[in-house]
């Protein structure tokens, strides 16, 4: 006797989000599905919300060895979506290197749609095996703000890049017209190969040069152009390394008496924080996208740095709402 019930189409770790704009101009979810070990929650829509807010969660705050998460997101024309997390995504250890924990994200952004993905860092534990891939397909009028960052592990327990393997891939594809062939704009792959259990030489730790966090910020599209230009300008005006101060003492006294503008004050504070937390960063325009790479000695140092840039410029919270920057405040 055949089963009277329809065949189940759900698979573990699979999720789908579809965002559409409602007649009165507010973005809303027309579809949100998920299955263990993926969990998605979205607060009830508020009247003046600038974007839909979705929390990307896992059970227990992390993924166990072998968990596979596959999330597909479609933001329809004029829709806006912000994705945040409730704390680091912990990657627990795998019994062997063949047991791979995977997260895959496939995003399509249509005409004038926008996505802000500013999650907490991924925290790979000792012995974890993790692969992440995030693919974004955008039409020319769509916008994307993406932060992908990874920490050294449970530093409070003495972990310092003791993961087995970690690889993260971010791809941005441009779609000239709907139904056309997408063109690859950016493929950012980071591959961290952990040391073998029996090896005494902490090769990966040496490679990470005392950074406790490493991250990439990718910006593409008209809505984030302001932030991109702002960050590129800040990079260009970073003080030169090895520059010497040739001013006379009198000139120095004169200069220190000048009242700084608010922007300048912010910049001086930020530069002091970069120095204190050993923040290294660079920004560049790459094939129509702006890519910022940064590393810091501590996770907090990295968070303060990237948060400071995004908050000072202000357009992300203006366009997506205050909650979009929850994880970097």
């Amino acid at each position: 006797m055949t089963s009277p019930f329809p065949v189940s189409s759900s698979a573990p770790g699979e999720g789908q989000i579809v965002v559409e704009i409602l007649p009165h101009g507010i973005s809303a979810l027309s579809k949100i599905t998920f299955q263990y070990p993926l969990k998605l929650i979205s607060p009830s829509p508020a009247a003046g919300q600038k974007s839909v807010l979705v929390f990307l969660l896992t059970y227990g705050g992390g993924l166990v060895g072998g968990d596979q998460v596959h999330l597909t997101i479609d933001v329809k024309p004029d829709g806006k979506l912000s994705i945040v997390t409730q704390g680091h995504t912990k990657i627990f250890k795998s019994p062997t290197r063949d047991v791979i924990t995977k997260q895959r994200l496939h995003v399509t952004l249509q005409d004038n749609a926008a996505l802000c993905l500013l999650p907490d860092p991924v925290q790979p534990f000792e012995g974890s095996v993790y692969q992440q891939s995030q693919t974004f397909t955008l039409v020319n009028t769509a916008s994307l703000c993406l932060l992908d960052w990874v920490s050294a592990g449970r530093t409070a327990r003495g972990e310092d890049w003791d993961l087995s393997t970690w690889s993260g891939r971010n791809e941005v594809w441009a779609l000239a017209e709907p139904g056309g062939k997408p063109r690859l704009l950016l493929r950012d792959n980071v591959i961290l190969a952990g040391d073998l259990e029996d090896s005494k030489d902490k090769g990966l730790r040496k490679k990470m040069q005392q950074m406790g966090i490493f991250g990439t910020l990718v910006l593409r599209g008209p809505l984030v152009e302001g932030l991109a230009a702002f960050i590129l300008n800040e990079f260009a005006t970073l003080p030169r390394i090895g520059a010497r101060d040739f001013r006379s003492q009198d000139k120095m006294n004169e200069d220190s008496g000048i009242t700084l503008s608010l922007d300048e004050k912010w910049r001086q504070t930020r530069l002091a924080q970069e120095k204190a937390d050993t923040v290294l960063w660079s920004a560049a325009r790459v094939r129509g996208c702006t890519v910022v790479k940064f590393g810091a000695r501590t996770v907090e140092g990295g968070r303060v740095f990237i948060g400071s840039l995004i908050k000072q410029e202000g357009s992300i919270s203006q366009i997506f709402g205050e909650d979009s920057i929850l994880c970097i405040r």
Binding site: I191, K207, L280, S282, F294, G295
Partner: protein, 260 residues
Amino acid sequence: MVRGASLPPVSLLTLTGTLTSSSHHFLLLLSDSALPLGSFAFSSGLESYLAHTRPKSSFPAFLNFSLSSYASTTLPFVLAAHRKPIDLIELDDTLDAAIMCTVGRRASVAQGRALLSIWDRSFSSALPAGASAAAVAALKDFTVLLRATSSNITTGLPTASAHLGPLFGAIAGILGISLRQAAYVFMLSHVKALLSAAVRASMFGPYHAQKMLASVEIQEGILKVIEQEWNTNIEDAGQSVPVMDLWIGRHEMLYSRIFN
């Protein structure tokens, strides 16, 4: 009977393939430091590394990082272009999409264009008899594309950039150099350029540089990264030393620089 000396771990200099003495000749030309690629102008991040880590800089550590990083980002493209030269245009574009900073892009494109120029002006008239016509045609198409447009106005994306990696792989293949030899020469040339930059940055003298170049560590290091990347798909090529992107990206922050 006297036993002969044992073969090196991988017999790279065995002349396999149909084009023997000619390919040996081109192998020596492509590995020559006098090949006018302009590699001397770039330090592959060494200068920036020194500025950031002074006084605790360690050349052997940086050499290891650079070997790992250059192999994981670029070697898969060299291998892919050698295996299938007709994919050259696509490989060039895919590598362009994977380079995250302007300084690195500049170094790769400058050397790539120089290599293409060498091909055009110097090598193409001395092609070995058995050279693949399809591969030569692919190279010609690429040159035409490169000259035709500098950048697509609507997308702002280059149609062709002329990155060093894919071009090296394709040209080495046409000249009859085997895949293993091409990979070895590519990585060895990178090490030589780095040592040369270190000598010019006054880290040590030329004799010490030659000692490092001759060392077992370098030989094994190169073979190890070639083995690691031998089967890596170009989609999986990426940065294995994230801080290298930061050092190279910040190169232009140096107040005074010897290298580009």
